[in-house]
Amino acid sequence: MPHGGRRARSGFALAGALLLAACRAAPAPPAAPSPRVVVMAPAAAETFAALGLSGLVVGVGDFVTYPPELAARPRVGGYDAPNPERLLALGATHFVTSASEAAAASRARLAALGVEVIALDGASWEGALAGMAALGARFGREEAAAALVGGIETRIARLRERTGTLPRRRVLCAVGRDPLYAAGPGSHFDALLTAAGGENLFADGHGTYLLASLEAVLARGPEVIVDSADNRPGAPYGALSGLWGQWPLLPAVAAGRVWQVSPDRYAVPGPRLAEMAEAFARFVHPERFGPPTAADFGPPGGE
């Protein structure tokens, strides 16, 4: 019996020790799984990269072409028709897209599937900056986002100071050629060219982008044309008059201030906004800021 009693006591002791160990090692609540983000908007994709959040991105929309590490992620379709099956197969927990009407149906569909939808206003300057701040806040990079936005605002303010005393040149920002589509008031192009010392040829237009009257363009005589309509691979970019050369009466053509630029460089109102504005200053006032460089024309990353 003594042996049996010792065995019983040691058995209780072992059980107690195990119980104590088990209590000490009681599992902490499981860590929240890392977000798996699908990004449809090119500006948002650039913001993720700028904030050091590229690792969260598991898929991108068809229009994301930069930065290269995100452009190589699996594609899930366009704004208006992302493939929900592919998106769910990627295990997406967050869907970052445009606040535009075109994306409304896809936002509703994915929200119904339990994916957190974040819709950003990418059409305007203010919307672009607010979007960067919102992504920083949502994914734990408030300070980095504040620094990013603050840096852009500081550079733009400095540029505004430098162009404040220069003559305002009439600028046509063509974003489509056939038919002619131009940037109107409220677009980020409008803000860029205004900061760069220009005046939007269609500041009185209706809508942020508008189907523009060719007759109005010829009569108003733009002094600078920034043409970002051509996104074909291998398209010629640079100080080329292109189709505008058929109207030598246009002041921009006569002065050699027609700039063919990549839409991928300028159509994305994201972290590169300050660079874009500084390039616009070279387009609008080359005599003051120096002629545009090769890096001002082609797609981003092609420098």
Binding site: F63, L211, E215
Partner: protein
């Protein structure tokens, strides 16, 4: 109960045609005088180079093109409605517009930088391809079957539409932009040779259809009745199909599928001036021209410096008006 309309007299016809001719002239004058730029003809007289460019190379060619295409589409619609004895027939039922649209969209997607310039030629080629295909498929034992023609046209339009959707889904954003605006219908400022070709095609096709005006009148009695009156039905069908298709092909190649002109104008004129095709066809040429010139004037100036696609304006004006017309016809139809 509507009063029976008096038979067409030369005087009444001349009155209608003079009135519509004056309306077309006024529309062209207004179209040439007004635009998004505010430039006027007196600026041209003052030797302003920009005014010369805007008025002579941009505004006036576009106004003249609108007059020609509007007239051509309305004539094609009037002739087809006469042939099918169906007021819902319009130039786009034959599949020609579908073929033309497909040709234009293929040019945008496949031809790279030259695509935009190739659109009119490719659309015209697509229309001719569709014409040949529809004619072959709708001909049985040497006879052109009108029902087969309608069905083949509808299927070809649907098939072309599906292919266009496919091409849109693989197009780049810039190509998509061009495709969308081409399919809505918008008038360009054509070079002189395009204008000349359009004028010649419209004149020849309209003359060929007007020549058959009495045959369309006879056809109102039914195919048997028309045959008894000596109408060569087979020739009439082929001539109408061919010339109406040419007018449609020219219009869609130049400006995309502008809707409602070929449906609405013949209806409106038949209601106002009567069903006699000797008056209806030339009236459609003048009235259709005036309608499209005025619609384009509105498209150019309503939201200036923005433009509206003219196809949007014709549909906005045409849709409600057409529904009103249908409602009115239903109310006036005898009971039972």
């Amino acid at each position: 109960m509507r009063r029976p309309r008096p038979p067409l007299s030369a005087r009444r016809a001349a009155g209608w045609l003079a009135g519509l001719g004056a309306l077309l002239l006024l529309a062209v004058a207004a179209g040439a005088a007004l635009g998004a730029s505010g430039l006027a003809w007196r600026d041209l007289a003052a030797g302003d180079g920009t005014a010369r460019l805007v008025l002579l190379e941009v505004r006036l060619p576009r106004v003249l093109l609108a007059a020609l295409l509007g007239g051509g589409l309305a004539v094609a619609g009037a002739a087809l409605q006469g042939l099918f004895r169906n007021p819902l027939a319009d130039p786009y039922v034959l599949g020609i517009a579908g073929g033309a649209s497909l040709g234009g969209v293929l040019a945008v997607v496949l031809a790279g930088a030259a695509g935009a310039r190739l659109v009119p030629a490719a659309a015209f080629a697509g229309a001719l391809g569709a014409l040949v295909l529809v004619e072959r498929l709708a001909t049985s034992r040497g006879r052109l079957d009108l029902y087969a023609l309608l069905l083949t046209g509808a299927v070809l339009n649907a098939f072309s539409g599906a292919l266009i959707f496919f091409l849109q889904s693989v197009a780049s954003s810039e190509q998509l932009h061009a495709i969308v605006f081409y399919l809505i219908g918008r008038l360009p400022s054509p070079p002189p040779r395009t204008l000349l070709f359009t004028a010649l095609a419209t004149a020849v096709a309209t003359a060929a259809l007007v020549r058959r005006a009495c045959d369309y009148n006879a056809l109102a009695l039914g195919e048997e009745g028309a045959a008894q009156l000596g109408v060569d039905l087979e020739r009439l069908k082929r001539a109408t199909f061919g010339w109406a298709s040419l007018l449609t092909a020219v219009a869609v190649a130049a400006a995309g599928p502008i809707g409602f002109v070929g449906l609405l104008l013949p209806h409106l004129l038949r209601l106002a001036a009567g069903p006699d095709h000797r008056l209806l066809l030339p009236a459609a040429l003048l009235g259709g021209g005036a309608f499209l010139v005025l619609a384009d004037l509105a498209a150019r100036t309503l939201l200036a410096p923005n433009e509206l696609p003219v196809g949007v304006l014709t549909a906005l004006l045409g849709g409600p008006f057409f529904l009103w017309l249908l409602r009115r016809r239903a109310r006036e139809a005898p009971d039972g």
